[in-house]
Amino acid sequence: MHQSTLAELSSALESKKISSEELIRGYIERCKKHNVSLNCFITITEDEAIKKAKIADKNRARGNHTLLTGVPVAQKDIFCTNGVKTTCGSKMLSNFIAPYDATLVKKMNENGFVMLGKTNMDEFAMGSSNETSFFGPAKNPWNNDNVPGGSSGGSASAVAARLCPAATGTDTGGSIRQPASFCGITGLKPTYGRVSRYGMIAFASSLDQGGPMAQTAEDVALIMNVIAGYDGNDSTSANNKIEDYTKNLNDSIKGLKIGLPQQYFDKNLNNDVANLVENGIKELEKLGAKFIDVDLPHTELSIPAYYVVAPAECSSNLSRYDGIRFGHRCNEPKDLKDLYCRSRQEGFGKEVKRRIMIGTYVLSAGYYDAYYLKAQKVRQIIRNDFKEVFDKVDLLAGPTTTGTAFRLNEKLNDPISMYLSDIYTVSANLAGLPAISIPSGFINELPVGMQLIGNHFQESLIINVAHQYQKATDWHKKIPKKYE
């Protein structure tokens, strides 16, 4: 049963082949067993999950249910979950029990999802390898010596190892798509504002976006149907019509115009990855899509712009972790300054501190114009690049990452190289565009992802293309042997 997709589990529950309780007990056992080596969960909420599963069964018996009532899911530990520890991968919040549910969590609960636990992540979502987590890195199920990617590494690892059929992630510069690519699953970063950020612990507010991580594009659509939509608690959430994301899944993609940004096939791209992405493109061509080469001329500016804007926002967003009201507080502070300094020094890890310092610097009097303001201008230029391209094509395709999952510790002490691994993903965040990563092959038994980027609020279209691709291929069905 654990190899099933959400859609399959939904049918199994509907036809009473299995009860939610049986299902959840089975998944919880797998989680407990494999978490020892994968470390993809920070918290496994066994008792609560079984309780919820029993309620789900009762509701199904009563006919009071949704399509997804009783299916399991894992939540990235960045989403506040009422009464459950919400750590954000940090020592700072290692004992923080959220007193409320994030809007995304609330919606999923209301739709009958049963949470199995909270997944591991880079501390405050700052990282591309899951190695900055206070709780140690999650491992890549395809090779436990490799990183699962980050920051939503725990979610990607858990879905890839089938410890849960689906999970949530957040994506600020690639944090859903890059781990999805590294772990061979499907991950969607929706349009900025499509999914509420309320209760999702902020890293960089103007870039953060929550989204689904699953085995298939179809499952991604099912989850989007639950989590997308306007939220009065999030002023930046979009107040426009939400589609039924499953409606267009089976539309033909014949005649669709897909752009290939030349800058995404540059010297940074590993040759084998390039070949696999080209194979993917051929598959889509077979299905009738037309490809044209396009330019996103300012792609190389995206990383520097991102590493100004994101740290600037994070330096402010993380000021609330001051040891006063919640979170880590140092022992016996001498005075207020000592309380602040030591609580933050002890509570935050190296990467978080690095970004707080960069952010503080770029917002300082005298540097603001040269860094923050300039980065915002670059951001506008990057948006314009996309706008022009979307006048010509329906969507874009390219690689998600430059290579496959790297080794643990390989880039930990080389932050620049780590930052550069986000080169193909950050632009979509800077422009607020939806983008999906789908499995497209393997290099040395490590998965490779292909990325599809859509215009604003065109999730349906990229999910549709991804689904058509997945009907023609079976990369997304591959499971690492150990976890079959």
Partner: protein, 485 residues
């Protein structure tokens, strides 16, 4: 600098007016004053991980209303910015405020500087921001308590140009704004509860110099009296410093009303770099022309116009009209009594006389007065139609104040109707003349001037005999008739 230098004082004020919204500026918590600590602070006010602010539209409307009332520009787009600094009563580690692109800019207001002269004070900007909480350093041994009830209360910070030249002008400006925000119903003006407070930027310069001196910022002044005292103290301090060859340093100073002095809080070197940047959690505030128009229609008659109208239409003195327009409560009260009586001067006298005295004595707000405008108006009508004399009215007023009922009831219950029956008055007058023979003699032998005084004596006697109920003008007339014969 020699001691003969003549100094000019330069003052600019930053006023913090708490907007009279029911809920906070970015959360649904109540803004009600005086609740038990931290009972009006929800997840958003506490700055819990993951929470987001949502703007209270009422606060925007109120700010726009203020801007329109001072003839300011209301840009189509204004934005919220984060002001970053650490303090225990600032939950998020930043205050949501406005920096570039405030909601109101370039307004002005006219103040009186003396009997005949007015002055324009320019208002640079007014911006929306959230209040911080309160730290309590006194009640916990070796610890500080933090109360976040106030955190997130909506504030309008009103920043003036340095256009005032003495403490009096500053106070006049402040009073003008204080009155205006109450008229606009955007602030309750309660200074004790901190709903209306101000910081003063004070500097001095030789009167013949253009260049501004180094300024000190005096923080958190919350009464007109303190503001005047603090500015005067600060000006003296700065003159003394400069004249003794020292320098004024740019710093923040705190006024201590107990000692009547200002003392240094922090110098410029210790000042924060607030690292303002646009708040990515909030969308720009967009104000359409329609919205402006709609809000403009809601602006009531403002005090300046009201004052002029009282003088020109109601024939009141400048003094009366100033006093009756100090705040909307008193103006409304006056207008209600006037509506009932059509006697502007009498209403003014009663409101500024007996009513004000009673309110002050009992420390009661006009809003809570036991004598309503309707009650006072009805009583004035009873004076008008000679049911009671002005003197008896004082007794009636006091009885109304003490809750004995309305004027009519009191007059009936206490039998206070004025005696206008001329036979009855004549009887008392005759009795009085018979009982005071010596004075009658004296009257007859007096000059006209003296007679006037002695009439007063007889009137007094008659009124006393009638227990104040005799109609005084009738008494006067009868006495003269009888004594002059």
């Amino acid at each position: 600098m020699n001691k003969n230098t003549e100094w000019q004082t330069i003052i600019g004020l930053e006023i913090h007016a708490q907007l009279a919204t029911k809920s906070k500026i970015f959360s649904g918590s109540s803004t009600k004053y005086g609740a038990a600590p931290n009972t009006q602070a929800n997840a958003v006010d506490l700055g819990l991980p993951g929470v987001l602010p949502v703007i209270n539209e009422q606060a925007i409307f109120m700010a726009v209303k203020f801007g329109l009332a001072i003839g300011a520009e209301i840009p189509k787009k204004s934005i919220f910015a984060r002001k970053n600094y650490f303090y225990p009563d600032l939950p998020k580690g930043y205050q949501i405020s406005q920096f570039e692109l405030p909601i109101v800019s370039n307004g002005q207001i006219e103040i009186d500087i003396d009997e005949n002269n007015k002055k324009i004070i320019r208002i640079t900007r007014a911006h929306l921001e959230e209040d911080a909480g309160k730290s309590n350093h006194d009640d916990f041994l070796n610890n500080t308590g933090v109360d976040l009830n106030r955190a997130g209360n909506p504030l309008l910070e009103i920043v003036s140009e340095p256009d005032m030249n003495n403490a009096k002008e500053a106070v006049n400006y402040l009073k003008k704004i204080h009155s205006l925000v109450q008229y606009l119903k955007i602030c309750d003006g309660n200074m004790q509860e901190g709903s209306f407070r101000c910081d003063a930027n004070v500097s001095i310069r030789p009167i013949d110099k253009e260049e501004l001196g180094i300024r000190a910022e005096i923080k958190n002044l919350n009464s007109f009296k303190f503001i005047e005292a603090a500015i005067n103290y600060e000006v003296d301090r700065q003159i003394e410093l400069i004249e003794s060859g020292k320098k004024v340093v740019q710093e923040t100073r705190l006024y201590d009303p107990n000692k009547n002095e200002t003392r240094s809080m922090r110098s410029k070197e210790e000042a924060n770099d607030y690292r303002y940047f646009p708040d990515p959690d909030l969308l720009p505030i967009l104000i359409t022309d329609e919205t402006k128009k709609k809000i403009k229609e809601e602006i009531p008659e403002l005090p300046d116009i009201k004052r002029k109208r009282y003088i020109s239409e109601l024939d009141l003195s400048k003094y009366d009209s100033n006093n009756l327009t100090i705040n909307p409560d008193i103006a409304n009260y006056f207008e209600e009594t006037f509506r009932i009586t059509k006697e502007a001067k009498m209403c003014a006298n009663w409101i500024m006389g007996d009513l004000s005295a009673s309110l002050n004595k009992n420390n009661i707000n006009l809003k809570d007065s036991p004598v309503s405008a309707k009650m006072l108006g009805e009583m004035i009508n009873l004076i008008k139609n000679n049911t009671i004399s002005g003197k008896i009215a004082k007794v009636v007023f006091e009885a109304m104040w003490n809750g004995d009922g309305n004027a009519k009831e009191i007059i009936e219950n206490k039998n206070l109707q004025q005696v206008t029956d001329s036979k009855e008055i004549e009887k008392i007058v005759t009795e009085t003349i018979t009982e005071n023979k010596p004075q009658v003699e004296q009257y007859k032998n007096s000059s006209d001037e003296k007679k006037q005084k002695l009439i007063g004596f007889f009137v007094g006697k008659v009124m006393k005999k009638s227990k104040g109920k005799a109609n005084p003008s009738q008494v006067n007339e009868l006495l003269r008739k009888k004594l002059d014969n």
